[in-house]
Amino acid sequence: MADIVIDRVVKEFGSFRALQEVSLTVNDGEFVALLGPSGCGKTTLLRIIAGLETQTAGRVVIGGQDVSNLAPRKRGLAMVFQNYAVFPHMTVFENVAFGLRMQKATQADVKRKVERAAALLHIESYLDRYPAKLSGGQRQRVAVARALAVEPAVLLMDEPLSNLDALLRLEMRTELKAVLREAGTTTIYVTHDQTEAMGLADRIAVMYGGKIDQIGSPLEIYATPATRFVGGFIGSPPMNFIKVQCSQGTARIGDASLPCPLTAQSLELGLRGEDASLSPTGSGIPFDVRVVEPMGSHLLLTGSIDGQLARIVAPPTAQVNAGARVGLTVDPARVTWIDSGTGRAIARA
């Protein structure tokens, strides 16, 4: 068990700056997800923590020890790789035992710990098989068991579920959460899949362009995005951003008006699709529906507000036709105001 402090870490590849002064603290036993689109630097950050890349500047401290210049094997961590990296020339047992053997654990110890990790991941029945005979999901389990068998202070996971099919991914996600909760290991989990991050993590660090845009609990990140990017990246459909004119604390859209902050020159209204409701009278913010997609649990309406693209979620039974103009009512407490100039959210009053 250990906490992790990432202190102003910079990584440059030639002239390209992959990470710009990233700082992050992960508490002991905490599960933090690094979430972001490809190329945002999340994998680079994870590899720097693992020691597989060397940072250009900054420090990595694990459990109070500065490990910035230590080789991976000396950092006391375990890792689950995107393609599992389960060694094809070793049996499942030897794969799970690999880290323990490197620690020169006694035979009895190896057997006991391998069996415990195997039981945790339900792979006891194929310990003597070779990985080539296993399905992707089973290999995934072996990779996790191998990582947990060494009882690491820190567990790093690099998109571990991205190579599984959708159904298996859902199943493994649930199981992973239960297993890791039980193990109580400090975990950093890289993913580009917001549902994975939301479902698994205690806290999510949303990364974009080599920086952490926001760090917070899944609910915080969803409800109060710190930047335009976070709002647009998280949630399905993504948050809508509507440019509005704000004069004397009131923004007018059609015949509706909303209270708005006075601080910025030009403002965008950040509105989640499910935070707007169809007004029975047709009053409120005018929304021109262009496409109606019944999704089963809800209707997805795509159209425009004041000539700007917007997606709104409506109850599955709502009577809306493409081409209609409807009115939307919005709870002012649930909207986010974005400063168009900086792209950052304006702090709520």
């Binding site: 597989l52 890349e53 060397t54 210049n69």
Partner: protein, 283 residues
């Protein structure tokens, strides 16, 4: 890669660099230097002696002729073989194994194999005799029958070194996605058109490397010729060998070596230029 480990790749390539420098670059320079040095100082004496030799013109002519006949025939033959083999489903591995056996056979052994077939009392003559075409053992591999000797060498070279072209071309064919030919087929291209308009252009990189490899080796040709015809059919590498080993004249041998290298480099340059593929044209 971590910056702290940047010395590792250099340590890994260093032994081979040192080795190649000592046994490739140094002898390369030595050969050139040796060819220009005679007695004291630099001169063209070795080259003059080389050019003045009775066998020189013949060796140049023979080597070029052999290369110009053998290499194109090998490419055509290998293309035919490759096309046939790719049509197979069962037995493909076995057929390929047999067709690639000559790959591992030395030019000397190849020469000897064809000697068994073509010598005076060999199997060809026996067959011709059985058919009533000749009266008794007939020589094909002597100075009196230069044309027959030439064809014997061409046959042996085709037999021995087509396999390498075949392997390179099949390796290249495997890289061409089947969808291209299928797409052409859907738009109405017949097999021959598909071959000339789709397969051949996409195979250009493989053709290029096969041609370079084969041409360089063809200018070095020596043991096949020697096994079949002795010195009855002078070639450049054979002359270099004779000057070095029999005449103990290293200077003239080096001049031959430089000539062979110059021709090889020129041929390589031509292939690189003529058969160049722009990177954006690759699939």
């Amino acid at each position: 890669m971590p910056a702290r480990t940047s010395w590792i790749p250099y340590a890994l390539i260093a032994p081979s660099v040192v080795f190649l420098a000592a046994l490739f670059l140094v002898p390369l320079v030595q050969t050139i230097w040796l060819s220009f040095s005679a007695g004291e100082g630099l001169s063209l004496e070795n080259y003059q002696r080389m050019a003045g030799d009775l066998n020189f013109a013949l060796a140049v002519k023979n080597t070029f002729l052999l290369t110009l006949v053998v290499v194109p025939l090998q490419v055509v033959l290998a293309l035919g073989m490759a096309t046939m083999v790719t049509k197979l489903d069962k037995g493909r591995d076995l057929v390929l194994w047999v067709l690639t056996i000559p790959l591992g056979i030395s030019d000397l052994a190849a020469g000897l194999a064809w000697l068994a077939l073509l010598q005076n009392t060999g199997y060809l003559n026996s067959a011709l005799y059985a058919l009533g075409l000749i009266q008794g053992p007939t020589g094909w591999l002597s100075q009196e029958t230069p044309v027959a000797l030439f064809f014997a060498i061409v046959l042996a070279e085709l037999w021995r070194a087509t396999a390498i072209v075949l392997v390179i071309l099949i390796a290249g064919l495997q890289l061409i996605p089947k969808e291209f030919a299928e797409a052409a087929e859907i738009f109405g291209a017949k097999p021959w058109t598909r071959f000339t308009r789709i397969t051949l252009p996409l195979l250009k990189p493989s053709l290029q490397s096969a041609l370079i490899l084969r041409t360089v080796l063809a200018f070095e040709v020596f043991a096949v010729v020697y096994a079949l015809g002795g010195r009855n059919f002078p070639v450049l590498a054979g002359e270099a060998y004779v000057w070095q080993n029999d005449n103990q004249n290293y200077g003239v041998a080096a001049a031959y070596a430089v000539l062979i290298m110059a021709i090889s480099l020129a041929a390589t340059a031509v292939y690189l230029r003529v058969l160049r593929t722009r990177p954006e044209q690759l699939p």
